[in-house]
Symmetry: C2
Subunit: 138 residues, 2 copies
DNA sequence: CTCAGTGATAAAGTAACTTGACGATAAATG
DNA sequence: CATTTATCGTCAAGTTACTTTATCACTGAG
């Protein structure tokens, strides 16, 4: 039961992100791309590092990076400190999209805080943070 | 930020479900199958009805039903009241798997309740129920 | 009795992966 | 040093979980 309770708001967040992106003209982004832009974002990280953080394979990430690079959201530049490595650099377009995503989340959070009473929403976040701490160790 | 906070426990629930299923011998089930067994389960429902409930296309569901039927978790029987329709009947094996899933969730919920203090966990559930009520209307 | 509507599903195509392999570089070891 | 070993990004091929399109079987309203 708890699974469904948690999943519905997750989906709502994703839907809102994508709706706002499409509204603002970023119609070439789809659900799969959102994971790449997930906090704290891919800027100035190496593909392997990011793949590890996102819990997907290097190849899966590389596939997404290929699309996002072709769409102009980021670039893969050679890493000056390691000749075999690359560094992901988010472009202006990418940063703009990230801003839209962040705004969408804030917008939704405010709406929820208002409807749920601000202090109860704070409680919810606190509880989720604590729950995450537990879940982290598994 | 809230997105990540919600997603981590969702993933933990799914991981636990699948781990327990595999431990108990249901090694032929994978993440995609879990949605079919999601509360209140597929027993005695028509494919179209279930697809609508799970928010997936009839074809996508039918694909999963085909696998689950071949694996012996359910059967598609002709509906006595409607000659063109079918009814999903969960087999003994299917019911056993559902029980394992439910136990896995309960087990995890108890652990969380204990570690978070029972009344705080109740609070969390109450808040999530309220949040779901808000999210439902979109 | 006809005919638009609905239910299941088969067929073909696609997106988002996976596994495996590669050449290039870096770091560890002898 | 020299050489083995590990790591980095990427390509290629296969798989999976879908989607879109199309069909056939049946229903129920007029």
């Amino acid at each position: 039961m708890i699974g469904a309770l948690l999943r519905m708001p997750v989906d709502a967040v994703h839907r809102r992100m994508l709706d706002r992106l499409h509204e603002r003209g970023y119609t070439d982004l789809d659900p799969a791309h959102l994971v790449v832009f997930q906090w704290p974002g891919p800027d100035d990280t190496r593909p392997s590092e990011l793949a590890a953080r996102l819990q997907i394979s290097k190849q899966a990430l590389n596939y997404l990076l290929g699309q996002l690079e072709r769409l102009g959201y980021l670039e893969r530049c050679p890493d000056p400190h390691d000749q075999r490595g690359k560094r992901i650099m988010v472009t202006a377009r990418g940063r703009a999209a990230i801003r839209v995503i962040r705004d969408a989340v804030n917008e939704l959070e405010s709406a929820w805080a208002k409807q749920l009473e601000p202090d109860r929403f704070e409680q919810l976040k606190t509880l989720l943070v604590d729950l995450n701490r537990l879940t982290a160790g598994s």
